[in-house]
């Protein structure tokens, strides 16, 4: 997601990484990222106040799993959605499901607390398909969502390649995959095509 934004230039987007103090995502975009502690009020102020006061940026907020419920409680309590709408900001929530039924239940809860945001469940094929469990499928059916995204399973080699600190999807695309072993190049290219096609398809709805 962030790489997609970075294609428009480093000055067009900002990343808030709540993986404090590590900032794994921020490590890939150091010039545009801030690592902050969302459990502290100062971190909350930094995220929400910045988004509402510097509306010329696109933002990615990478939320740690343990902060998810707290984040959306504050999001709802402080009336962020209404303020965002008044500032002409569009909010999209990408919720990554894991292999537990509780994950689908959490997605349902979160989708209810951000009523006016675009809610997009993301399923990772590598995690298995939780929707084969009837109870999960039932809850999933109750989630208000605009579309969903399915991440194709990647090989271990491809995952290791993507995890390299200097890897960037944007550079991969810009260089047309030059310098990447052919097998991985095809796999990553296919992965990106599948993901971005789903995204574009949703955007056109």
């Amino acid at each position: 997601m962030t790489d997609l934004l970075s294609l428009s230039g480093a000055e067009s987007f900002r990343v808030f990484d709540t993986d404090f103090p590590n900032g794994d995502l921020a490590g890939y975009f150091p010039a545009s990222s801030r690592v902050l502690d969302f459990s502290k009020t100062g971190g909350q102020v930094e995220i929400f106040d910045t988004i509402l006061s510097e509306t010329h940026f696109d933002y990615v907020v990478d939320l740690e799993a343990n902060l998810l419920q707290g984040f959306f409680k504050i999001y709802s309590d402080i009336g962020f959605e209404q303020a965002a709408a008044e500032a002409n900001l569009r909010v999209s929530v990408y919720f990554i499901l894991d292999r537990k039924v509780s994950s689908v239940s959490t997605a349902l809860t979160i989708s209810k607390s951000c009523k006016h945001a675009e809610f997009i469940p993301v399923r990772n094929e590598a995690m298995g398909n939780i929707l084969t469990v009837p109870q999960a499928a039932n809850v999933y059916g109750q989630i208000r969502h605009h579309r969903d995204i399915q991440l194709p399973r990647l090989s271990v080699n491809a995952l290791n390649y993507l995890d390299q600190p200097d890897f960037s999807f944007a550079n991969f695309l810009a260089r047309n995959g030059d310098g990447v072993p052919l097998e991985l190049k095809i796999e990553i290219w296919s992965f990106l095509e599948t993901v971005y096609n789903q995204r574009q398809s949703g955007d056109m709805n």
């Binding site: 009020t41 100062g42 909350q44 102020v45 929400f48 106040d49 504050i74 402080i78 303020a83």
Partner: protein, 256 residues
Amino acid sequence: MKPLLILVGADKGGVGKTTTSRALLDFLARRNVLARAFDTENPRGTLHRFYPNIAEIIDLSRVRDQMKVLDTMQSAAVKVTVVDLKAGNLSSALDTFEKIGVLEAARSGEFDLALFHVVGPSIASLDEMGEVAKYTKGLSYIVARNFINETNFFEWDEKTFKKYFAGLSNAREIEIPKLNEMAYEQVDLAGVTFTDFIANKTPKGQDAEYSFVLRGYVRKWISDLNDEFEKLELIKSLLAPQQSSSDPSESNENNA
């Protein structure tokens, strides 16, 4: 409308008494109920700092200042009077009011009197409830459990509180919910009312630049607090003046 005297007090300091007074004055203002206030935190006047136009600093131990509050209730254009009692002065103030006949006048219906007793997390706060009970018969007695500056472990549990509370037949209970500490500090620093902070206004009414998040925290807190105040019969009567002149014994808070 019959005058209403609201006393806000606690015998223990640091339980959020003035915050409760501020919240109450804010609530009344939002509901378009005119009120005047007396701040007995003499000479500093914390409440006065936030409400310079309606709050006067007085020394309740001085007869002249007692007269300023009590002798003007009938004649004042503003019928609601809020008195923020100095920390540690609740029992002595009630004792004085009992001796000079203020409590009896309220019991006989000359005016309405409500006591907001702010209790904090210590056992001492609970003991206070028993101590003031002898003064509150026939009056509206509201125990405000203050969680706003909850920084300590509560020394009492719910069961203990209910045990104390059960001994007070006429008491009603509200909770002052916890407010985010940074939000509370910022309101304090700004020296504005909670309502003005939410509206992003300076004390002089100019546009301010308070944090959206902190304003959001205060907005949510105020909303929760509204629910607490609105469940009180005293407040219901105040907001529906046509009913306030009815027999005070009908009020749930006056059933002692």
